[in-house]
Structures are given as C-alpha cells and as structure tokens.
Symmetry: C2
Subunit: 490 residues, 2 copies
C-alpha cells in the first residue's frame, strides 16, 4: 500500500525530517513535531499563543473528555474544535484509551468516538485501543492486542471523511508482538502510528526497554509510516526516540510539571525551589531569576513555568531537526545520553539496533565525531565493517597505524573504531572521522573486530598489524594468524 500523506525529506540514522499532510486541516506538519496537549477545562497557555509564539503546527486534545463534558460537548459539536480552541493548525484527538487504562472502563465504542471526533472537526482521530502495560503475562498481551487489532479493523470501516485515523501499536514489552502489531497496523487503511503504552516505561526510566519496544514496532511498520511516541513529552529523550524513528511527540508535561513547580531541561527535571540560576536563556529565563519567579502568584508562576517548559521543548525539536539536516543526530544523542544513567542505557540499547538503523542511514554525511565508547557501536561503524566484505586484499598485507611499507604487497590503514581499510578510502565518509587522541578500549576493540573480519574473509592473505599501544582487550580479539608489531612514537 502506498501512503501519500507522509513524505520523508531528510534522514539520519533512523531519524528523519518528514512532511505530514493533514487534509482536513488543509495544512502540512513538519516532523519531528511536538503536539502540546490542550485540556479545554484547564488551559495553561492559549492555543493561539502555542501557534504564534512557540510555532506549534499541531496540538492534541482528548475527545473523550469533550464527549463527556457538559460544558464543552455542545460547543464542540456546534462550532467545531478549531473555533473552541482558537487554533488554526492541525488538531489530533485522543479517544479515551488513557482513561480506559487508568479507570478500567469507558462508556463509548470505537465507532461512536470516531464519529464524535469527526463531528467535532478533529483532523486526526483515534479508535479505542487497549493500552497494555509493560511486563504483563504473554496471554494478556496477546488477547488485548487481538482486541486492539479488531478495533483498528473496525475503525478502518468507519466513514470519517478526510479525517486521518491513528492506528496504535500495542504488544506490551514483547518484541515479537510489537513487531506483529506494527505489521498489522500498517496493513490497515489507517494513517498515523502511535507506539502505545510506553508511559509506564518512561515513568520508570526504562529507556532501554523503550528503545527495544520502538525498534520492534518499527520493524513491523513501513519506512513511510509516521510514528508517534504516544505520551512521551520529556525533551530529554526526544533525540534518542527520533534516532530510533519516531516522528511525533505529545507533551502534557509542559503544563502538568509547571503546576508542581517543575522545570524541564534536556538534562532532566529540576524543582524550581532547587534553582538559584536558570540554566536556560528562553524569554522567561532571560527575564527573571528563580527568586523573582518564586515571588509570583501561583497561577502566574504556573503560566511562566509552562512557557519555559514549552520553549525548551520546542527548542529541542528544532535542535533535532537541525542535527538531522547537518547529519549529526548521533552526536546529539551521545550528548543527551549524558543526562542520566538510564538515558545511557537507552543509548547503549540503541547500539544493539545498529543494523536496523543502518539500512535507512545515508551513506555520507558531514563528519563523524567519536565522542565516547558508545560511538564504536554506531551504524556507520557497522556499515564500514560490512563493507570490508567486498574488499579483497592480496598477498602479504600490512595493516598499520603508521606509514605504508614497500616490504608488503599492500599497506592498508587501520583506524579505531573502524578497523582496516585501503588508503584510497581515507577521504570517504565515515573514515574522515574526527577521533580523540586519547582513544578508549571500546574503540580499539572495534578496530580489532574489523581486523578479525578482514582476516576471516581473506584467509589466503598473510596479515601484519602494526599498532600504537593497543590495549590487551583489543589485541586479544586479533586472530592468532596475524603477526602483531607495536610501533613506537619516536
């Protein structure tokens, strides 16, 4: 099936800049995009300001709350959501699945809620799926997934005009179920693909499990499927999620956190009371000190904090888009991985999916920066090692960190973390990498694995490795058949 509502414009690893066409709103939304959550009962920042001051192209509100609301139901049906909220961009509506997960039941069917979403003028609606939490037993995950899949199939038959419809991907923490769910959702006629029920993983800082869940869902979905990491609103983890292939995020956090005097940063959440200085220069933080902010009335302080939270959240979306354009999204992820040990776990988990990311990654970018031991697990390093397959040296081969030698039939370079390569490739990406003078064990070990791979593919050659002071842990990975020579600096 061909999708004509989502077009990928630029790619870096699994991350992409895309254009989501939302026909009913008559707009396109550039992704990665942030959807601020707007609760019509408690508006912290006016939706019109979200658009004009923060650049929001799309927001999300809960149709089930409207459906049950005596205050707003009729207004929404009469004037439509865009008028009710005073917002000209695209509006996505949730269905009440969250309420289902929280309270155990809701009094609406998928068909009813989809029709209601259509009738209030939603641009992207949502069926009532079952958000199965992590770690449930497999039987429950399977049977709830079956229900979700039935609802998606039903949703595909409801006439909702131009409204796009979400097809949530569930399956708890079972990778095979998430993959199967992704494949099923992609095969429906539906449009946008939220990876569902990841909020409990976020709340428990299980970013590695989050990465595994997204990777599994992505394996089932097509490359042209717009993917929404549903309920994930902390800017700290956006770069990691985008690198895995997520395109849409929603944030209730900007407002909920502000209510509790919590201040968002890409390095984690701070309590306003713990701050003496604002680590930010957004218009709020450039204007006030923490002491000054603490002096405001509760509701003014809440609004100002929500504005800061929105500024930093949209700033991170822009930072990610720029990184994709510049081809240094992984460098950004490396940086963000240092926000918390659990984020480092997430980044290390992403390393295990390098082969999956490699398939979408552009063959050439600006520069590869080696920034930590984790850089050795980047898709580009893996691709280089795979490429060694195709290169066949002959005779007596020197792999050296030093100068070439005429005593050999061929003299290749060897550079951590990539390993060996012919000199002629020195100026090609990623071998133009900037690497630290002080290399780490992971980088040397990766280079040694490259040597081992080359030797395994070319058993008829006679290899010599000439290195500067590689650690034991790397030399142990070099096959015994290789003659190893240590170079000296002098």
């Amino acid at each position: 099936m061909e999708r004509d509502i989502f077009e990928v414009r630029a790619q870096d690893g699994g991350g992409r800049i895309g254009e989501l066409t939302v026909p009913r709103a008559g707009v396109t939304v550039e992704t990665p995009a942030l959807l601020p959550v707007v609760n019509p009962h408690v508006v912290t920042v006016d939706p019109s300001r979200l658009e004009s001051e923060f650049g929001a192209e799309i927001l999300i509100t809960n149709s089930y709350i409207l459906y049950k609301s005596e205050d707003f139901r009729d207004d929404a049906l009469d004037g439509g959501l865009h008028e009710l909220l005073d917002f000209d961009g695209a509006i996505m509506t949730d269905s009440g699945s969250f309420q289902l997960a929280e309270y155990g039941e809701i009094s609406v069917t998928t068909e009813e809620i989809l029709r209601f979403q259509h009738d209030v003028g939603s641009d992207i609606g949502t069926p009532v799926d079952i958000p199965t939490p992590p770690d449930v037993d497999r039987e429950r995950a399977e049977s709830e997934l079956e229900t979700t899949q039935e609802r998606l199939e039903l949703a595909a038959t409801v006439d909702v005009g131009e409204m796009l419809v979400n097809a949530p991907v569930q399956g708890s923490t079972y990778a095979d179920l998430r993959e199967k769910a992704g494949r099923h959702a992609y095969d429906t006629e539906l449009d946008v693909f939220p990876v569902g029920a990841v909020v409990p993983l976020m709340n428990e800082y299980r970013y590695d499990d989050m990465v595994d869940v997204v990777a599994a869902a992505k394996r089932g979905l097509g490359a042209d499927a717009p993917v929404h990491l549903f309920g994930a609103g902390h800017p700290m983890m956006f770069a990691l999620a985008v690198a895995m292939g997520c395109d849409l995020f929603d944030s209730a956090a900007y407002a909920l956190y502000a209510r509790d005097d919590r201040y968002l940063t890409v390095r984690g959440t701070k309590q306003l009371d713990d701050l003496e200085y604002f680590p930010c220069s957004c218009p709020i933080c450039a204007n006030y000190t923490p002491d000054e902010l603490r002096e405001f009335d509760d509701w003014e302080r809440e609004e100002l904090l929500a504005e800061h939270n929105l500024h930093v959240t949209f700033e991170e979306i822009r930072t990610i888009k720029q990184a994709i354009r510049s081809g240094d999204l992984f460098e950004l992820v490396e940086n963000r991985a240092r926000a918390h040990p659990a984020m480092l776990d997430g980044y290390r988990a992403l390393g295990a999916h390098a082969a999956q990311l490699e398939r979408a990654d552009p063959a050439s970018k600006g520069a590869f920066f080696y920034l930590s031991g984790e850089s050795a697990a980047r898709p580009e390093v893996l691709r280089h090692r795979e490429r060694l397959f195709r290169l066949n040296p002959e005779g007596r081969v020197l792999l050296t960190e030093g100068n070439p030698s005429k005593n050999y039939d061929e003299s290749w370079r060897v550079v951590p973390p990539f390993g060996p390569f012919p000199r002629a490739l020195s100026e090609t990406y990623p071998l133009t990498a900037e690497i630290p003078e002080r290399m780490d064990g992971a980088g040397y070990e990766s280079a040694a694995r490259g040597v081992a791979r080359l030797v395994a593919e070319n058993q008829e050659c006679e290899f010599t490795l000439a290195h500067y002071d590689w650690p034991e842990s790397a030399l142990a990975l070099v096959p015994e058949s290789v003659r190893v020579v240590e170079l000296s600096d002098a």
Copy 2:
C-alpha cells in the same frame, strides 16, 4: 599571605562559586564570571545593555588601545572609563600584551601602562607580561617567564591605589614552569591570576593541553586565588575549565564571531548559512528563524547574532553555577565533553588530575551519575578507593554483587565503578550513585582495581569475588589470590 578579595562560597571538584570584591568599583562580582570584551572603537552591544539585559557584572577593555587612541585617550582620562563606556559594574583592563604577542613590540612599559590604567579609572589593571606561546623551546619559555616575573614584581611596587592588579601566569606548555610561575605570581602582592597564552591551544582544539596547563598553574597558586582563563570565550569549554578551577572568562568571540555570521552553541560553532533551525530559545532565536535573520542588513544581523552569542554564553555561566550548587558539575562536564572529540580528550585529560581535584571536592553531594566510561575516573571514585585504605576486613571475606552469605566472616558489596565496600556504607555518598544497567568495561575495570587495592592492603584475609558477568579485561585485574565466582541471574 591572606587574600581578602576572593571568597569561595561553594565548591564541586575544582569548580567553585566565589565572590570577587573589586574595591575601586565598589562592587562584588560573583564567579564564575564572564567578562565581555568591549572595544570602544567598535561597540556591538552597548555596555549598559550588557549590564541590564545580560547580567554582566564586569567587562574588560584594552587600555593599550585607549592609550594609543586619538579619539578616546583624552575622554578616558577626563571622564574615566565608566563614563566613557556607560557601565556601572567592574572594569578590567588589558595592557597590550596581546598586541605584543601579535606585532612583536609595543611602545609602553609596565609602569606607564599601570599608571594609565589607574588614571582612566580601571578597577583591575594588567602589567605588560610576555605571553609565551605553546611548544616553544624551553630556553625561550624560561627567559620570557623571567621577564614576566620581573614585570610582576615591578607592578607590585607601583602605587595604583585601590585598583586590583592581574598577575599573569605564563610558562608555555611546560607544566613545571607553569607551576613555578603560579607560585611566584601568588607570592607577589598582586590580586587576580590570568593563565595566559592559552588562545593558541584553544584555536588548535588542544583542550587536553589546556587542562594540563591550567592544572599546573593551579598547583602553584593558592586555593584562594581567583583564576582567569585569559582569552577563552567559547562557552563549549567553560564547564571543563571551571571544573579545573578557573573563575573568570572573557569573551571577544560573541562579537567577533557575529561579524563572520558565526553562531555559538555549547556543542560548537555553526555558520548561520548552515542553519535551517535555531537550536536555542533565547529571545533572538525564539523570535526569528535563520531565514528571517539572513534577511536583515549586515549591521543589524551582526548585532542580533552577537546578542544570541551573549545569551548562550551567559546561559552557560548560569548553568555551571547551578551545577556547582547542585553538586553535579562533573555530570555537566560529561555532557559538554560530547561536543567534539577534542573536548573528550580534554575531559579524559582531566581524569588524570583527579587526585588534584579530589583535595578540594566536597565529601558529599546530591547524587553521583555514572554517564560514560570516563565517570570511572572521577575524583569521587578515586577518593573511595583511597578510603579503602582505612577499612580492614577480617578473616574470610565475600565481595559480592549478589546477596550476603553466612558462610563468610564478612560480606561486602562490590559495585562498579567503585569496587568493594562494607554494606554499612551503602547509603553514603558517592556509593548512592545511579549507575546504568548496561555497565561498560571502564566501570568494571575500576571496580576490579578497587578489589586489587583492598587485597593488597589486607593480605591476611581470604577473598572471594562473586560477580555478574564481568568482562575479561576486568577479571584480569583481580589478584590471583582471590577466588572468583560467577553469579547467574536465575
């Protein structure tokens, strides 16, 4: 000698929040502080705005330029610098040493320029030192240092009233000369201590050499000496330099870079032309897109870019101060180290000075986050290992990642990167650390070194190490006398 102009208020590693009293200006300056460089001939952002909009408490201007200036010399002498520049905070003046380094000679002596600085109302003046570049031969470094030292001694005899005087620390890239220079400077009656001639190191991205130079100078200087990293204005490296013990920075970059359409970020410098999105939410970046900024006249664009550059620079100073207050300066440095491989080299070089930093580091902070292999080299890890000295287990001792066992006389915990410790210490800093589930080789190896240390100090005990899947590189560091048992997850 006791210094009463600089008081350290909070400390984290070598980093500190201090209060520099500038008697002639009648103000105190909170450090770490940024001194914007103001060239009276080319004012990009008015000094009064530096104060009111950006929070600058101190700036720096070049007294030699004024001394030689037909336009400003008389005004400066008549009305004074504060009036000339319209700035109420503290004003530091440079002496022309930079011009000396650039053009080989200047036509003023230390005595003349100090008197001139005094006469124009400078609050902190500078003698004419010799900024010896990196990598010169030792003879030149020594003889130029001798000249610098004579000038400092001379400067100490000039009557400059309440004006503070800088005592630059030179010595090229010779650690012993920098240390000796630091000690000599500290022993003069002078007040503030610029580490000089580091600009060439910055320009060549030699952040590891910069760290070594600062560490050497600091060994010579007293802990109560305010230290200025002279000429270093890129916010990318402020956190690293503060962690080494630098208190003052000056930035000409904010204006010079803006002139070339260069845009500062803590992850490096960008060309405006390469940006499609602003990775920032300062008042400039929240208001304009890169496309919009490109449409301005040259001079307007330059001013707006300079304002962005100042915002991000002062933001980083606030971020660092907050990190010192929160006790997570090293976590910030870990993050900033991922801006460029050369910054990683700088951070790895800092690891080699852990013992020096450890002496000033507070014994307890909020939380220790393990964020990369480099975390294993933090001063807190070193201190823990030194502390093992004082703890003497007895008899048959189990060091285990699992549960305690009654089959041993003592059951200690062992946790990467710290190594072994008695269970009773579990709730003390830094053993309350947050560590990733997916530990790296450097963390395991550090724990193994802790085991080796404990064993070496307690040869009469019989040790058993029970671990979950430590890598070979770590197990190889465990002494042969230790019985090693692998635990299984089941």
